[in-house]
Amino acid sequence: MNIKNFIKNNKILIIYFVILAVLIIFFSKIQENFITVRNIKNLLRHTTRNAFAALGLTFVIIVGHNDLSFGLIGCLSAMTTSFMIALGQNAIVSIIIGLLIGAICGLLNGYIIARFKLPDIVVTIGSGAIAFGLSYLYSKGAFIYDNFLTSGILGINDISILGIPFPVILLLIIFLVCFYFLNKTTIGRKFYATGENIIAATYSGINVRTFIIAAFILSASLGSLSTIIETAFQGRGNVKTGMILLLPSYATVYLGRAIFGKPTVNGSLIASIFIAVILNGLTLMNMPFYVSNLILSIVLLIALILSKLSLSARRKKLG
């Protein structure tokens, strides 16, 4: 009887796993090298890159807002880190400074939006443009290579613990921390309350402004983490590093929301695996990136419609 209940309550989750399994089988039949150690490492790398950014965005969506700037803030942070390295700083200090810049941008975003009640979409388009423009200042837009080999930054990607690459471990740690805070602590409850009913949350004594600002800081910071790790992998600072994060991150968070009924970090995590599998499979099939974008857009649209349908069904039940 317990199994029947489980299936009834988690229909979409089950469907998700089924489709995932189908995809994996499909890709492995079509491409021999899908299930190889090297490709799985690649897969993991893509997953972590998307997952960090999606994790950050998840917080913004939980508090009921939107952020279009996290990718471009990531560009600024990545270039800042690269610039620091080029100046001779060691890897860790450079990374911290890069993340700090990202966090400050997020703070500004959150403050302007929460304090003045401005439309988040327009503000983050503007702030994204500013961040992106600023990232050109370091090198007039050129790649930054200097000192990368000697600074130790490449180690981020090379270090493995028990055979698992460091970024993956970092992702798991951050995910577990986020999961813990969002689901098991008062902080998590206040985040969700702010997003679900900001008026009732205020009347219950929650300082909603704090949580909105915190969400934007997290979104910018985790987006920066994603671009910095990618920079470490590429071995050079590239202004355009974060530009492609927007669509996959939104698709991930909304897919996660469709699966679990509300935005969650676990939803975003497993959705990012799903999307990474699709993207990886398509790359192996030598499909160009724009085909992947098409698939992502379609996934996003389907996730949206699914969420809407389940919301309508629930509203009807309540009358």
């Binding site: 327009v122 503007g126 200042l137 939104y250 909304y254 160009p288 085909v291 996003l300 949206l304």
Partner: protein, 312 residues
């Protein structure tokens, strides 16, 4: 408030003219008008969508799609006229899709148009295999894009005519009224019998219509179908619409304001380029202006709400 901006613009214009001899050349100024024309078309629909209280982030990609589609079909030997027609209709279909999803399925406009925009761009890239397709778009389009009548760029005049027509609709027809009505107070509009679903579909179709038109001209202008028009137009579009709203009509998006804002932007960018200021500085300036503009509009709006309460 609006006079402040006009004076600011006059100052900048003067500064540029003094510093750069190239700037004040007639050919340069006319060039600005010509380039502004395409942006103006793209942002015309956006103006109406924002006035109705929604947003559309897919219009640059629809333009890209139309542009690529024309080149693609032409390359395959189809007559340029028919290629244009088919591509145009397909571009407008995106407007129907957007409108339907937002008004009937009631999806949030922001994320939906990100998705549909992504689809349009992806299809364009697939057709073009990621690179521009070079074509000669035929004498008619070339004449429209590059030609001059009475010493003014034809393209600009065409766009001006379209703008005058849309302005007429905005001010003197029920569609224009209802767009503003539902943008401002959807509840009161419905109570008065306005069919807001039809209006929303209309504005999204209008946006796609204008974007497709812009796509056609782009193909001519660049002699190619370009899949990567992109993000930059998004920023410019919102900037033009919000600043247009500030300049004229007291904080409501309107077509004349948009076209003036586009020209001002065009002057700024042109001046920056001629003065050797790199492109990314312009980005920073634009982003800052957008945020400042939104701050001004919304802070005043919130003050108005307080005034309203006092009147009670």
């Amino acid at each position: 408030m609006r006079y402040m901006f006009i004076w600011f613009f006059v100052c900048i214009f003067t500064v540029f003219s003094v510093i750069s001899p190239v700037f004040r050349m007639m050919s340069n100024l006319l060039d600005i008008l010509r380039i502004s024309a395409i942006g103006s078309l793209l942002f015309l629909g956006l103006t109406c969508v924002v006035a109705a209280g929604e947003i559309d982030l897919s219009f640059p990609e629809v333009a890209a799609f139309t542009s690529v589609s024309i080149a693609y079909l032409f390359q395959r030997g189809i007559n340029i006229g028919i290629a244009v027609l088919i591509s145009f209709i397909l571009g407008v279909m995106f407007g129907v899709l957007n409108g339907g999803l937002v008004s009937y399925v009631k999806l949030p406009s922001f994320i939906t148009t990100i998705a549909t925009g992504g689809m349009a761009k992806a299809i364009a890239s697939i057709l073009a295999k990621g690179k521009p397709i070079y074509v000669d778009s035929g004498s008619v389009i070339n004449k429209m894009v590059f030609g001059y009548i009475f010493k003014m760029p034809i393209l600009f005049l065409i766009v001006l005519v379209i703008y005058i027509f849309i302005k007429y609709i905005q001010d003197s027809t029920t569609i224009g009224q209802y767009i503003y009505a539902i943008g401002e107070n959807r509840k009161a509009s419905k109570a008065a019998g306005i069919n807001e679903k039809k209006i929303i579909i209309t504005v999204y179709i209008l946006t796609a219509f204008m974007a497709s038109l812009a796509g056609i001209f782009l193909t001519g202008l660049l002699s190619s179908g370009q899949p990567e028009i992109g993000y930059a137009y998004l920023l410019d579009g919102l900037l033009a619409v919000f600043f247009g709203a500030l300049i004229i009509k007291d904080r409501k998006p309107n077509v004349i304001g948009t076209i003036i804002a586009v020209i001002i932007l065009g002057v700024l960018v042109n001046g920056f380029t001629l003065l050797g200021i790199p492109y990314y500085m312009a980005e920073i300036a634009k982003g800052s202006l957008l945020i400042i503009g939104v701050l001004i509009i919304f802070i005043r709006k919130n003050n108005h709400k307080v005034l309203d309460k006092k009147n009670k």
